[in-house]
Every structure is written in C-alpha cells, then in structure tokens.
C-alpha cells in the first residue's frame, strides 16, 4: 500500500526539481547545438539559457520564470494499491501544486479563462492536470511532473483534420508550416521538441502530440520504421529553414521530432502539433509499493509502455 502522503511529497519534490533543473538529455542536446551554431546571436541565446539553468540548479531562481501549466503524468501498475484509492491522486497533485506555488517554485499563472481572476495557487477546474494510465508492471507508480510553459503551449499548438486524399504530403506541409510559424521571432522558445499526433479522434490526436513532446526521451525514434523515417525527414527539413535558437538565424529551431500515431476513421486524417520549449522541463519520480521514492531527470523507457489504441 502506497501512502498518499508519500505520493504528495514526491509530487512536490519532482515538480520543484522540474522547475529548477534541466533534464540531462535536454542539457546535452543544447550543448551540442551551441557547438553547431555559427551565428553569434544563435550561440548566445543558448549559452545564456544554459547559464540561466545552471543558476536555477544552484538555488538562484527558476529554469524559466513562466512555470506554465502544472501537469502530472502518472503510470500505475495493474495491482498498485494507493491509500485512499486512485481518486486520491488528484488531491495530492493539488496539494503539491499549491505548496510549490506558495514557495515560489511555481508562479501563480492559472486564471479563470473568462473573468481572468487569479486564485494565486494554480488550482482550479481542470488544473493541475492529472493523466493516469496503467502499465503491464504489477505494482508501484511512476509520475512525471511537467510545468509546461506558455510560449510553447500557446504558440506551438496546431490541429487540422486532413483527408485521406491530402496524403503524406499534406501531413508534411502541415508540420513544416507549423514549425516555421511557431518559431518565428522565437515564439515557442526554440530549439523546440516538436510533438506530432497523427490519427485517432481529435482529442486523442492532440494528446498524442503533447505526450510525444513531453514524455519521449529527447531524440528517440518511433519504433515503426515508416513513422521514424518521417521524423528524420521533417527534422532534417527544419534544419534547412534558416531558423535557429529563439528565432535567430541558425540551424537548431527543432531539437527533437517525435511522432505518434493511432488508427483513425477510414475517411479521416487528423494531424496535431504540440511543441515543448528548449528547456523541456520535466522530472520523474518512482514510488515502490513499500513507499521507497526515487527521482531522476531521465525518462528513458516511459513512452514504450503507454499504449494509445
């Protein structure tokens, strides 16, 4: 039986780590990009961002001042037992979010969409967002805490219902145009991780895009060869745009191109794009059935176990 207090504490710590530490795969990719860029401004955008993250890691500030939407992705085993039941996870996420906000690890950013009133604790209908899925593992839970910044979410979200006759060409056009538009003037804070969903229903399509951007290790390839080839082709095309870090002249506007697919209606070809920004904030915590807690920036192995269809 996992104690709910253990989960709440782990959520708080992992969210705090996500807000103050650069994931290791993201950090090494940004360092590669520094070496590759030749335009001084492009290089400087990356160097300053890395220095900013270093300061945050030392306890001076945040990886980014916009801590965005508080997201919790949870995987549980088939026989996992939680004190108070699975429904208690939502309250634990609320408490962890409120505590992070009170301690200024999260900025109070969530507001009512119509009145624009800000409750000051990032809590309200729908937020924090908890996504629960189940794995083939027998027990324990894994949680990825992701403060998802506004820039990438606001300017990096695109959806279109294409049709079978629009073909793969239509998919490619939609994705490359989305990258060009969203990287203009650095809106999504490139180098971005571009998540793409193809197929499913409208909501599943966007969910796949978001999870491709947030829950796949940076630079991983889809297991399906045709999908992986599309990832490689579009990543290469993005590097030819002439767009670099923060919208400068450069090469690295995209540092990861992750595509996920689901079967869809025979009449439909839905495509969604959801981007993650250059700091790719997320941190993982793992809790065993006997309440042992571990934290890590790597999310290797997370995505393969989640089955969308």
């Amino acid at each position: 039986m996992i104690k709910i207090k253990t989960i709440e504490e782990a959520m708080y710590k992992a969210m705090r780590m996500a807000a103050t530490k650069l994931p290791p795969d993201v950090e090494s990719k940004l360092n590669e990009a520094v070496a590759e860029e030749t335009n001084p401004l492009a290089k400087q955008h990356l160097q300053v961002s890395l220095e900013n993250a270093r300061l945050a890691g030392e306890g001076n500030g945040l990886v980014c001042g916009d801590t965005g939407f508080p997201l919790y992705f949870i995987k549980a085993g088939t026989q996992t037992a939680i004190e108070g039941g699975f429904g208690a996870l939502w309250k634990a996420a609320e408490n962890a979010t409120a505590r992070c906000t009170a301690e200024a690890f999260l900025r109070p950013t969530m507001v009512d969409p119509l009145t624009r009133d800000n409750p000051g604790d990032n809590i309200g209908p729908g937020m924090p967002k908890v996504e629960l899925s189940f794995t083939g593992q027998p027990d324990g839970i894994e949680i990825i805490c992701a403060p998802k910044g506004g820039g990438s979410e606001i300017f990096g979200t695109f959806y279109r219902m294409l049709f079978p006759s629009d073909g793969k060409v239509g998919i490619k056009k939609f994705i490359i145009d989305s990258i060009k538009d969203s990287c203009y003037a650095g809106k999504i804070c490139p180098p971005a991780i571009v998540g793409v969903g193809i197929g499913g229903t409208a909501d599943l399509c966007m969910k796949m895009a978001k999870e491709a951007a947030l829950l796949r290790p940076l630079g991983s390839r889809n297991k399906n060869k045709e999908t992986a080839d599309l990832e490689i082709e579009l990543l290469q095309a993005s590097r030819e745009l002439g767009l670099g870090p923060m919208g400068s002249q450069g090469i690295n506007c995209v540092m990861g191109m992750h595509i996920e697919t689901a079967v869809t209606h025979t009449a439909a070809l839905p495509v969604a794009v959801n981007a993650q920004c250059l700091v790719g904030r997320r941190w993982k915590t793992t809790i065993s059935n006997n309440n042992e807690v571990a934290y890590e920036g790597s999310i290797d192995g997370w995505k393969q176990e989640v089955n969308h269809v």
Binding site: S49, V169, K173, Y184, A185, G186, E240, L241
Partner: protein
C-alpha cells in the same frame, strides 16, 4: 550585429532612441515598470493605468515576475521576459498614451506598434535566451507594486530600479524596422526548396470542404 553593449540611461531620450540600430546590444539603467495583458486591456478599454510619472518612467518591461514576500520585503525569484507579440492589439495605443520610448520583452511586436515607436521615437528590445535569473541581481530596488490585490503577483505592475539591465538587442528600431521581419523574408525565400525536398508540389492545397458560396 555589434558586439559592443551600449548602456542606455532611462528615461530614454528621443535622440538616443533614434540613434540605435537594429541588432544593437544594449542594457538599460534607471526606472522600469512591468505589465502584461491585463495592463494593456485595462489601460485602453477602462482607462486604468498604473499611477506613474511617465515622463520619468518610460520603459515598459513585458514580464510576469516570480515574486516572494520575505519578512514584508519583496524578493524577486525570476523575471523572464514574456512574449510581447500577444499585446499587439493594444501595443501602439499604450505606447502613445504613456509616451513610452523603451519596450522590453520576448519575440517582437507588429506593424502598428512599430509605427507608434517610429512616431514617438522609441525602440523595442528583445531578450537573449532565457535570462530571468541573470536579470535578478541587476534590479537594485523594488520601488513598489500597483494593483496587486486586483491582478495578483503575475499581472500586477511592479516598479523596479535597474542598473545595466540586460543585455537585450534592438529588435524594432525607431524607424520602424523589424529584425525578425527582415529574417523572415530570407526564410520565406527558402521555402520553395524545402517544400521541394519534402515532395510538396508548389501548387499543393489541402482538400477544400467548404465550396464557394458556403463561406
């Protein structure tokens, strides 16, 4: 782009503003104030503005600071410039109404704001990378906060005294030229080749399901 950083004294004067070239690296020293969407909307739609002497404070920093109250003193945790292009609907009117000569933010602003900066003699400065922690020690004093109860910490207007705050680069100059628009032309010119490499025909269009007459 010049490597040399010019420190601009605030409030910025028109002559200095008009001398700045696109891409110039600058820092600013003096008084600045913060705001986001709510400031823009309220200033124009409701005529509610932070009670400041805009002849002395004419630098508007687009940001939602992360603030912490420690023993009744405000501490800044991080101040990451936010996306200015969101404010374009009201940007030009705010510049004119307050007489602003310096805007600091992320991304860029649109043609209407660029035109207003040209008329008034002002510039738009864009950030370098993520820099919200590095800017913190350059704020020498938090002078006050307006509308905190109504708007909350993120959208409230904070007044900061800063020294060599930055660096930023001039992304819109006082002639209305835009760094990113110039860059965008190069990118558009290269799109034909990219589309060709991806196998996208130049006359490709998505399937149209709204026949003319139904639009």
């Amino acid at each position: 782009m010049s490597d040399q950083i010019i420190d601009l004294q605030l409030p910025l004067d028109e002559k200095t503003a008009r001398s700045l070239k696109l891409g110039q690296m600058v820092t600013v020293s003096g008084m600045i104030f913060t705001g986001r969407s709510r400031l823009h909307i309220r200033a124009i739609e409701e005529n509610i503005m932070p009670p400041l002497d805009y002849s002395k404070v004419n630098c508007f920093f687009h940001v939602g600071p992360v603030m912490k109250n420690v023993n009744d003193e405000w501490e800044i945790v991080s101040i990451e410039p936010t996306s200015s292009i969101r404010f374009e609907r009201y940007g030009a009117d705010v510049v004119k109404k307050m007489g602003l000569r310096t805007l600091i933010g992320k991304t860029t602003m649109g043609p209407r704001t660029a035109q207003s900066l040209k008329e008034i003699g002002g510039v738009y400065l864009s950030k370098i990378g993520l820099c919200g922690n590095q800017l913190v020690p350059q704020v020498k004093k938090v002078h006050g906060v307006h509308f905190l109860d109504k708007l909350g910490k993120t959208e409230a207007t904070w007044v900061f005294e800063v020294e060599k705050f930055g660096p930023f680069f001039v992304a819109i100059d006082a002639e209305g030229n835009n760094y990113f628009e110039n860059l965008s032309e190069d990118i558009e010119n290269g799109m034909d080749k990219i589309d060709k490499d991806l196998g996208i025909p130049s006359d490709y269009t998505y399937t149209e399901v709204n026949p003319s007459g139904c639009k």
